[in-house]
């Protein structure tokens, strides 16, 4: 018997047992679709997190008091600047603010205007400048929820003894920027200090860039600097340094996504995998036994029947894996993660207002196919072997 003839009967067998094949492919979709979607989102997020660590500063310096992070007093910048190997120090203010009657949460980031380029492709409109009105660049979710557009005025949403100002939206982050822009407000350092009612010079952290090769030496020098006195007189503030390497080691290595939501998925694989195994090995078994007995009576050998079962399993697994991949792509690319993004990304609604980060790669698809083949193949080949070793006369009963 030719190999192609065996392949042909294996493929025909998929259509011969339609209910079995349909249940099998649907069960594979139930396993693989959540896996590929969640892994795609996770790897997309990982790629953007890597960009965040790689393209940020070499060192992040914050204050530490009572074991907690606290703002740095005004003289911290000058102390760090004078260290050998430091090329640039940028003070930054980051904090949480609430806007609108629904107290919409937002992350406010203030940077010196000198750090801003003349134009940025991630911002529609202008970048903020210092002036009599607070100028803000708003994230996509905030803009949508608060119905803000370029030119919108925001009444004072903070308290400052020296007076509050109106704020004007001068720019909006574009939807294809990373998800962290969704609830972000970008403004100038002095505006941020005024919003948080802090004196000039206070920063929540310092971004430090170093000469190549000096990162560790500078980090060491900063931690050795004498403690700073805080403005409230409640005790010294120590320097706390986070290096780029500290951040990069947090990224999961390769396909090592084994925690969080993936634990739940492994339970799903286990439960549905058993069901698939039962379906492929049990459903329509009597009919399949008779079919295999007829083939045996026609002169087929056991190994040829097993090969036929393998071809059938490959076809079902391939169909399940490819359909799951294409559905995952439609869900993430065309539907922009409708529903799923709100579940797995905190602070995101059912319909995200930004482009959901995801990365669909060939290796998870290949793994999905292998997993599907192991489950389907085990059930099919086992049941085929049981039927093939029985005498045709008994199997046909």
């Amino acid at each position: 018997m030719l190999f192609l003839d065996i392949v042909h009967t294996g493929l025909a067998s998929v259509l011969l047992h339609r209910l079995r094949s349909l249940v099998c492919v649907l069960a594979l979709l139930a396993i693989l679709l959540p896996y590929l979607t969640a892994l795609g989102l996770s790897r997309g997020l990982e790629a953007e997190a890597e960009s965040s660590a790689r393209l940020g500063a070499d060192l992040y310096v914050a204050g530490n008091q009572f074991g907690r992070m606290v703002p740095l007093p005004p003289d911290a910048e000058a102390r760090v600047k004078q260290l050998e190997g430091v090329t640039r120090v940028v003070p930054r203010v980051v904090g949480e603010v609430f806007l609108g009657k629904d107290h919409q949460r937002a992350v406010l980031l203030g940077l010196p205007p000198s750090q801003f380029p003349a134009w940025s492709s991630t911002v529609e409109g202008e970048l903020p400048r210092s002036g009599s009105v607070n100028e803000l660049v708003i994230g996509t979710t905030l803009a949508q929820r608060l119905n803000l557009k370029i030119g919108s005025m925001i009444p004072p949403f903070y308290q400052n003894e020296q007076g509050e100002r109106l704020s004007r939206v001068v720019g909006l982050f574009k939807a294809n920027a990373p998800l962290w822009q969704a609830n972000l407000i970008l403004t100038t350092l002095d505006t941020a200090q005024a919003i948080f009612a802090q004196p000039a010079g206070v920063a929540t952290d310092l971004l430090v860039w170093c000469r190549p090769g000096y990162e560790e030496a500078v980090a060491r020098s900063i931690t050795w600097l004498p403690s700073l006195g805080d403005q409230t007189g409640r005790g010294p503030v120590r320097f706390q340094v986070t290096t780029r390497q500290d951040l990069l080691v947090l990224l999961p290595q390769g396909l090592m996504h084994r925690e969080g939501l993936f634990n739940l998925h492994f339970v799903l694989v286990f439960i549905i995998g058993i069901l698939v195994f039962l379906v492929v090995s049990g459903l329509g078994l009597g009919e399949r036994r008779r079919e295999i007995a007829i083939l045996k009576a026609m002169g087929w050998q056991t190994d040829q029947l097993l090969l036929r079962g393998v071809v059938e399993s490959v076809a079902l697994s391939l169909m399940g894996a490819c359909l799951a991949f294409l559905l995952a792509w439609v869900w993430l690319r065309l539907l922009n993660g409708y529903g799923i993004a709100g579940v797995v990304l905190a602070g995101v609604g059912v319909m995200p207002d930004f482009q959901v980060p995801f990365r669909l790669a060939p290796i998870p698809l290949l793994l999905g196919f292998v997993l599907a083949f192991v489950i389907v193949g085990t059930g099919t080949v086992y049941s085929s072997w049981r039927a093939a070793i029985a005498p045709p006369r008994d199997a046909m009963r």
Binding site: A47, L55, S227, L318, L345
Partner: protein, 110 residues
């Protein structure tokens, strides 16, 4: 080979072809996405890292640079990380930030 087998074979080949096309399309889109991410990170000096778009309850889920660990994580207890609503179903888990410690110099006034 009868028509049924051929039809199924064609369907399978079409599925594989479309899947390969999508993979190729996504590989091309990746560079566009990466450029946008890089532009944003250069503008803000590195902001955001985790699976959260705000820092309600857990700044660590937004960016570990803003909070070195999750304040609601009761890790030593079995399932302790689930006490943080941001971590119970996290799609992108990472351990607490552990900055390197540099032994203090003799005579330093730390």
């Amino acid at each position: 080979m009868d028509a049924r087998g051929v039809r199924l074979l064609l369907v399978l080949l079409m599925l594989v072809g479309v899947t390969a096309g999508v993979l190729f399309f996504e590989a091309r889109q990746e560079s566009v996405r990466q450029t946008q991410a890089e532009e944003f990170q250069r503008l803000v000096g590195g902001m955001g890292f985790g699976p959260a778009s705000d820092w309600e309850d857990c700044p660590f889920s937004f960016d570990p640079r803003l909070g070195g660990s999750c304040g609601l994580n009761s890790g030593p207890l079995p399932g302790g990380s689930c006490f943080c609503p941001r971590h119970a179903e996290s799609i992108f888990s990472y351990p607490a930030l552990q900055p390197q410690h540099y032994p203090a110099q003799e005579g330093s006034s730390q």
